[in-house]
Amino acid sequence: MRIRKLATTAMAGFLLLAASACGGDGGSGDGPAAQSGAPKTLTYWASNQGPSLEADQEILKPELDRFKKETGIEVKVEVVPWADLLNRILAATTSGQGPDVLNIGNTWSASLQATGAFVPFDDALLGKLGGKERFLGPSLAATGAQGQPPAAIPIYGMTYGLMYNKKMFADAGIDGPPKTWDEFIETGKKLTKDGKWGLAVEGASVTENAHHAFIFGQQHGADPFDASGKPQFDSDKQVAATKQFLDLMAVHKIVNPSNAEYGNGTQAVQDFTSGKAGMLMWQSIASSAKAAGMGEDEYGVAPIPLPDPAQGGKQVNGMVAGINLAIFKSSRNQDAAVEFAKFMTSKQTQQNLNKAYGSLPTVNDAYDDPAFQTEHIKAFQQILATTAAPLPQVPEESQYETLVGTAMNELFADVASGKPVSEAQIKAKLTEANEKMLAGS
């Protein structure tokens, strides 16, 4: 008797389970229909632009509130740290379970475009945002492969500059920012004393390292991919460029070896804003400086030194950096997502957010605000317009960043632990990255 009862209970339990599983299925199938009547909600993954994830939430909140007021659409925002963003996007692409709208690093545009996960911004869609002409040229060039409609639209524009601490410069008797690499090293050496260092770098950050590998590579005339699209990460020119960057720590000793441990994208900035290092090659640090209590007049923005033209190479000292906004194809709220893209590229929002982050508006009509006529912004604008090069807009770009960035992390680790790093070792690491790229294609 007891056995039978048990059997019945087990059976009932199983049936219940099966039923609830079916119920789950039915529920998700009904989703869109059920949602259309209710107030709309968008999920938005924002990238980490400010000094912390919380700070970003605070900066975005008033804008999202305004969006809700204007359209009735609520935006649930999640700020994703840089170390996770690409993987999160990839996972969302694979599973089809992602946000409605999201920020991407503009260098990933072509790679993510190749997955087909994003809604392409064709002329009709761009028309809704006010047309292609509204957008800044260099920023619009970093939105996907040439000849295809942009996979994402630029919302924050940026490039690399050399920040320098004015007081530390004055104390060390330095007149102004260095203009050549020799001057740069000399300046760094003057600043390096009493536990303070000439330059701060983010030595364990894949992204930062990859960007510097690119910028220094360009100065030596190296391109990551040849004309036919084949990777050539280990060209002699790139090896020389990588060595030049590593030598700032290894040979010239103007970088604190501890920087080889920095990897979350905020530590080098903190070293700079807290006066532990006198120089920093970075994108805008406005919001971080403000949070650290460093006034805008306490530091200057100058171009990163250019190579001697006689040496060959390109006159490049920055990359076209920035943030693009993309809409997921799997989003059930396409209309609301377009509405949000329109809002984020509107003059008012562009002015508010770019002011808060110290970045450059990506639409021309936003520049009439005097906030974008400051020295810092003008310096960045000048670099972006004249000496910044976009990273290659090819599907393999994000793999390039990860592979070369990781190789640089390992090299920095070697340098920091006092191992001598020769050109042969650099070449071996970069060749390994190159081979992995080839094996994956």
Partner: protein, 339 residues
């Protein structure tokens, strides 16, 4: 610990009959459908019916994803197909060929990661077991504060892995970490601040963090085993003049053998597959010296966006673990029957 509670089918049938009674008398109530199934079949089918929900869930949660993973390992699953991976072209055995070609960059780094993982596993399992056994044995007799100590020992195991490991990662920082503060400034053992999160020391950092996190599991299980050993054995041996060491070697350890068999196996599988500790400790790119195989596979498939290749490596890992487990179980149970 594993299957000892399940009685053999014969035993159950014997014990079931006096209580269940003749089938006809029981067949009255619960309906005609049940009555149509022959008694024998009903009896035989019951155990299977009872574990059916578990089997279905097991299939759903473990077996199906595993099979999908195996299928993926034969595909050229790159960024162009991640959205609709049923459209990915077949790769044949190419993914496996790349993974085991130890002259190539991919294969050689996989091999290096495998060697690191083996060394790490041997050391970590050994240390966890040693610490767990020592603590369990020392806490065998009751004394004041035993409960408090036990709770304290179990704390690392009860903490969420992330919280524990992230704290270690702060402690291991070169300039502001507690470890260097103690080694360099407080005790003066070292003159120069070493790196712990990059370079060669990262292996030690990973090992310490992992053992700290996992040894309480060994302690917990072994403690339960130790508590089960009858006091009579110790009393009898004491009368025969056996000292503490002799008791440990001739009573405690042999009596713990079945528990040890399971603990070591489970620790081995966990450690070999561990992902959380290195991921939280080192972030996106683990240093080569501490590049455990799970995180290596994850990275190499996410780095090149080639999930077929990552799946192939996972399948190889699965085969290796299956092999080790089988050999281990055969070897240890044979020894047990002989003893």
């Amino acid at each position: 610990m594993v299957a000892s509670t399940t009685p053999r089918p014969g035993a159950r049938r014997g014990s079931g009959s006096p209580e269940g009674g003749p089938p006809r008398s029981g067949g009255r109530g619960p309906g005609r459908v049940a009555a149509l199934i022959p008694v024998r079949l009903r009896r035989l089918g019951l155990p299977y019916l009872l574990i059916l929900p578990a089997i279905v869930l097991e299939l759903l949660i473990h077996v199906v994803p595993m099979l999908v993973g195996m299928w993926m390992s034969f595909l050229k699953l790159t960024q162009f197909f991640v959205r609709n991976w049923s459209a990915a072209p077949s790769a044949g055995l190419a993914n496996y060929e790349i993974a085991v070609d130890f002259d190539s960059a991919v294969g050689s780094s996989l091999l290096r990661s495998f060697v690191v993982t083996v060394a790490f596993t041997v050391l970590a399992v050994g240390l966890c077991w040693l610490l767990g056994t020592a603590a369990a044995v020392l806490m065998q007799g009751s004394f004041r504060g035993r409960g408090v100590l036990r709770t304290l020992f179990l704390t690392p195991y009860a903490l969420p892995a992330y919280a524990g490991v992230i704290t270690w990662s702060f402690m291991f920082q070169r300039d502001s970490g507690l470890v260097n503060h103690i080694l360099v400034e407080q005790s003066g053992l070292l003159d120069e601040r070493p790196f712990w999160l990059i370079g060669g020391n990262s292996f030690v950092a990973l090992l310490v963090t992992y053992v700290w996190r996992v040894w309480p599991f060994a302690f917990l299980v072994l403690m339960a085993g130790v508590q089960n050993i009858s006091d009579d054995l110790y009393e009898a041996s004491a009368i025969d003049g056996a000292g503490w060491w002799r008791q440990l070697r001739s009573i405690t350890l042999p009596m713990l053998r079945p528990v040890n068999q399971v603990v070591v196996l489970v620790l081995f599988l966990w450690t070999f597959n561990d992902f959380n500790t290195p991921y939280v400790l080192f972030g996106k790119s683990a240093p080569e010296e501490a590049d455990l195989i799970s995180i290596h596979i994850y990275q190499s498939s996410f780095v090149t966006w080639n999930f077929g290749s990552g799946s192939a490596m996972s399948v190889l890992l699965l085969l290796f673990l299956l092999l080790v487990t089988a050999v281990y179980l055969v070897a240890t149970s044979r020894r047990r029957t002989r003893a």
